[in-house]
Symmetry: C2
Subunit: 455 residues, 2 copies
Amino acid sequence: MNVILLSGGSGKRLWPLSNDIRSKQFIKIFRGEDGEYESMVQRMYRHLIAVDPDADVTIATSRSQVSSINNQIGDMARSASGTSGKLGIGISVEPCRRDTFPAIALAAAYLAHERGVDASEAVLVCPIDPYVERDYFEALKTLSDHVAETDVHLSLMGIEPTYPSEKYGYVIPDGHGRFAGVTAFKEKPDKETAQACIDRGALWNAGVFGFRLGYMLDKAEEILGTSDYRTLYDTYDALTKISFDYAVGEKEPSIDVLRFAGEWKDLGTWNTLTEAMDEPGIGQALMNETCSNVHVLNELDVPVLVMGCRDMVIAASPEGILVSDKEQSSYVKPYVDRIGGQVMFAEKSWGEFRVIDVGENSLTIRVTLNPGHEMNYHSHEHRREIWTVTDGHGAVCVDGEVRRVGAGAVIELPAGVRHTVHAFDTLRIMEVQLGADIRTYDKIKSDIAKDWWKE
Amino acid sequence: MNVILLSGGSGKRLWPLSNDIRSKQFIKIFRGEDGEYESMVQRMYRHLIAVDPDADVTIATSRSQVSSINNQIGDMARSASGTSGKLGIGISVEPCRRDTFPAIALAAAYLAHERGVDASEAVLVCPIDPYVERDYFEALKTLSDHVAETDVHLSLMGIEPTYPSEKYGYVIPDGHGRFAGVTAFKEKPDKETAQACIDRGALWNAGVFGFRLGYMLDKAEEILGTSDYRTLYDTYDALTKISFDYAVGEKEPSIDVLRFAGEWKDLGTWNTLTEAMDEPGIGQALMNETCSNVHVLNELDVPVLVMGCRDMVIAASPEGILVSDKEQSSYVKPYVDRIGGQVMFAEKSWGEFRVIDVGENSLTIRVTLNPGHEMNYHSHEHRREIWTVTDGHGAVCVDGEVRRVGAGAVIELPAGVRHTVHAFDTLRIMEVQLGADIRTYDKIKSDIAKDWWKE
């Protein structure tokens, strides 16, 4: 099974747990099989490879999400590839935002040219963020097999509606069987029209569809003028902004839909997200017995105590604290836009950082490197850094000089000095950045020998 | 006017803004005259010296509050003493908690022996934490003058009740004049009894009383066996635990009460405290228009966004976050006792510190020294410290070596090395403490020459 997972969104609607870097699909709120919390991305990937250990998964996303993806499923993907012989996950990076058709065309070209998928093979495209159970993934497998076994150009997945939602698109099938032809689409109808659609047997459009890879490459040629991966990538910002539904879906006569009746939820707001939580509190949370229907998501290192509250969500991160009635929490975005501000935490391919103090001419950051990982070799033009290793063991390279470090080591890095660090075990560093104008983009990458830390 | 302010309480009822070190009277929530926030302690002191610039004020308190008092009113007291010729404030430190009579006796002895107050002078004792306006302080002056002009042994202040409270003590006067004799006391009656008391003209007992200093020294001799300050101080933990009301107040036949009808509030819970706030939000707080009767007190560096809430208090500090219905917030204590944990912020005589990260074998602290102030010269047996100066200018002394430091300076302090720092202007230091077992009490004080930093 070849699967393209669409991972988008900047996700301010789940502030303060989502920010410009961390979209909602990276928030860890579900209990995984090992009892640890996992994100929607991790959950989706885990289920996919459980249903099909040979699944070839490509994530179509923006550059800003690559580090988080590597951090969250990099190791899982490497260990899956170890057993199946596959290459783990692929990442098709969109150079900028261009709507869904260019993104899907780029990912299709990536599959063809970078991962060697044959034009005759079936490919599925799925959003990365529905909240679903194992039966959904089995339906994906059915859909993929169906595409491979028939000549239908485009096969959708339709969800049996549970209420006349005004938020979803509807697909009207021409029959009541497991697979049926599609007679019409209806995008976000009002409630009455939605009910009328449902009465005619309409299904929610899950945004999932399958096709043979060659079909999508042909569409790319036809609509964008090329299906060459490099060309698409290099000219991406000049491509027409056009949605897949408009460019392809609604025009395709050879189309059918697979009916799916299992659990399927869009967790786009605090209200819906908290409904899917396995427990009322994540992190240090204490609620007294007078609370009802309260959910706490606390990523800070201090406790949250809630008393006498009902129908509320409380979310805390290094970026801020939300205290909201659940209903009201859907309207968070305009207020968050007003808050603005600095990104205070992020996952990186090598681990994570958290801003713990913002001074007038300083920024103090807690850096955690995962075992076996390392940063890029880099320098800063305008700032000094003082690193104090607080836990773990590693090696640092400072302008070519390699030395072993452990808890208590102090490394002074004047502006202009190239540096990196490799972690032998989990390595924690308190990093004080000093300078009048500290910016993320003040970073000059350099080359360094592979395995430099083995010296 | 000689005034003893009783400053007690460990104040978990206002968690997380109060903790084992910071009692409620040190929380800065009122707008002062200069527009800056001030605490009850600062507000009380400011009003006192406004009504009587020559007021000799002594604060009777425990050792744990001395730093906070110096931090909050040290400079104000020094500047007041500069204009009036007085010595600023006195602090009578209770070596341990022994109830109100030993505390008052100790403070009275302190006034006699350490501040040279004559036995014939009038002395007032007042709690440090009622929320009152200027008329209250004028009433204090009236009470002090009354004591000085009459032969009454003990003069109380009684507050005109506004409702039949079950939380206060009542004083039953024998008349309706401004001053009246006292016929009886009634401690925390039920509502009906309270109403009956009020119908008889009863007043709330404000905990304020005046006497000639000699009277209290005689009582100390009589009840505790001595009125010598040093003896009381050195044998304090062996003194009988006994309340002033029980030991003296209720037995004294020569007693009267001053009627006071102005504003007087006990701000002991979030509910009453927020009622006295000048604005709904302190710190970074954003409430949308669907909120009503919500108060936010945010001491963190990140914003709090509140939506769709009513009748709530939200308080955030480095120690935790409280989200509570106002009514429920009175019951916070048992839950806070369960949380326990480390003191995460404190005011010191030289400035303040805030724990910003707790690692397995490390503690990172943001230290702010006020201009012209310095720490004690000290060393630690079991931990190293790495200081990075992030802002300001100062001088450090490390094992006798003095050097000037500014932003960017790094000072490594191995275990056993004596050190201190003096701030020329506001000096901020990021201090990483490293060790397997980091404890506040691992601190050995040393002597150092006065003005060592002038070298």
